[in-house]
Symmetry: C2
Subunit: 279 residues, 2 copies
């Protein structure tokens, strides 16, 4: 497995592979790989001749009071995990390789970026869209893989790819969960044992609410159920609980399925997100 830190080197490798008629998959990550990432990587290795995993903790998607500095980093472990899955290249640029001092171009995805995490993390999706646009242009993959756990991010990227005519197929993969149902996230590493136990309520509440919606309840009724269930956990502080259109992410609380139920919840200092679709 090759480890590439430079854009020019990454581009040259992929262009060589393409000239050889090989298909290319990209799995963009911020490292601290868990089973959710590995499911994306396996899917890419299965679909493509060459899989590139990018590991880049992207500074432009963190707010000034967020956890950019503390974000878990373990490159050696990540590289072993990637190689074991059959990854061809890990692309791991330094921030200065990706952002020059006078960097000044931003990709703004409106509509699907507003509300939910876009409201609580201003500028976050601008940073995400910009870095994913860059990674897609550097690697020029046939397919790029994203987890459904970051559902709003997935919709932002789908919209960007559609609107800017980026020549790539976006593939989403289901959320991978720990035993007990907690959605896998690199940030779960921050949780104390007590917080981790309390956090189980998030996926439980979403599942119960989804069952209610499936039987005919509205989004508002589902939100009530989730709010009530989360209130029973003293260690959790909900940031938002919403019922939205699964494609546009517009509020759909006054209507029934198809719905996306999504929540952001603080457990101590750790911000967790999860969602469930009811189709």
């Amino acid at each position: 497995m090759r480890i590439e830190k430079k854009i020019a080197g990454m581009r040259a490798f992929v262009q060589g592979a393409r000239r050889g008629g090989k298909s290319v998959g990209l799995v963009p990550t911020m490292g601290a790989l868990h089973d959710g990432h590995l499911a994306l990587i396996r899917r890419s290795c299965n679909d493509n001749d060459i899989t590139v995993v990018s590991i880049f903790v992207n500074p432009t998607q963190f707010g000034p009071n967020e956890d950019f500095g503390a974000y878990p980093r373990d490159f050696e472990k990540d590289a072993v995990l990637a190689e074991r899955q059959g990854v061809s290249v890990v692309f791991a640029p330094e921030p200065r390789e990706m952002y020059s001092d006078d960097f000044s171009t931003w990709v703004d995805v409106e509509q699907v970026s507003s509300g939910m995490c876009g409201e609580s993390r201003p500028g976050h999706f601008r940073g995400v869209a910009t870095v994913v646009c860059k990674l897609l242009n550097i690697v020029q993959p046939d397919h790029a893989y994203f987890g459904e756990k970051d559902y709003q991010q997935l919709q932002v990227i789908r919209r960007m790819v559609r609107d800017l005519d980026l020549p790539v197929d976006i593939v989403s993969c289901p959320t991978v969960r720990e035993e007990g149902g907690l959605a896998m996230s690199s940030r779960n590493a921050y949780l104390s044992d007590a917080e981790r136990t309390a956090a189980l309520a998030i996926s439980e509440a979403l599942r119960e609410a989804a069952a209610l919606v499936d039987k005919g309840a509205t989004g508002a009724q589902a939100i009530d159920l989730i709010d009530q269930r989360l209130q029973t956990e003293k260690l959790l502080r909900p940031q938002y609980v919403v019922a939205v259109d699964p494609d546009t992410l517009a509020d759909k609380s006054q209507q029934g399925k198809p719905l996306l139920l999504a929540a952001a919840v603080h457990a101590g200092k750790t911000r967790l997100i999860d969602n469930i679709r009811v189709d």
Copy 2:
């Protein structure tokens, strides 16, 4: 010569050419082709196996009170001119092919977009950057060609390509001028004979000011000379006259060469721009 109106068809054609090992040049235009465009097209035909000329009057780069509706359109004539130069494909999508009803992704290039035309035409460069990003993603050319007459546009596109790692080489070509020095522009078609004569003062003033800067004058002295010369023409109303850094477009009026001297001037209802570099 092929005329392609659909993104999917354009993409399929170019992908076929690429698989055959052919290099691709793109000349993005809004039609109403003049000798300036033809110089870009000739350069592309010379550099590449395949040349694509896009003809698309891009609604998102026009302000609400600008000339989108009146902008000169003559597709039949443009197609004949393009074919005569050896163009392989004219890409001429309808606005609805390029912008869906819920289109919501914008490419914003900061810094080089501010000032000059960016100040007098708010949103203009956002529209330009977004449509050029789309065209580059659709055609995926090896080289794309732009005229130096639209100097700020050229710098916006260069910056976007650099920042977003778009896999294309941007080639600029010198401004082509009518006899007498007026910079060629599709908008020259709007000019009355008297306005056209008055407009000669723009390039004359820029040339005289450039000679002054070349002999050691500052940007401010050059601006004074240009202002005075333009004031002698009653049919002209200057919008801006600037002396800026040729790369960053930051104000450099207090310094000498290297400088870009640039002006935007209304002749009647017609807005004309021109510039000259002093290196």
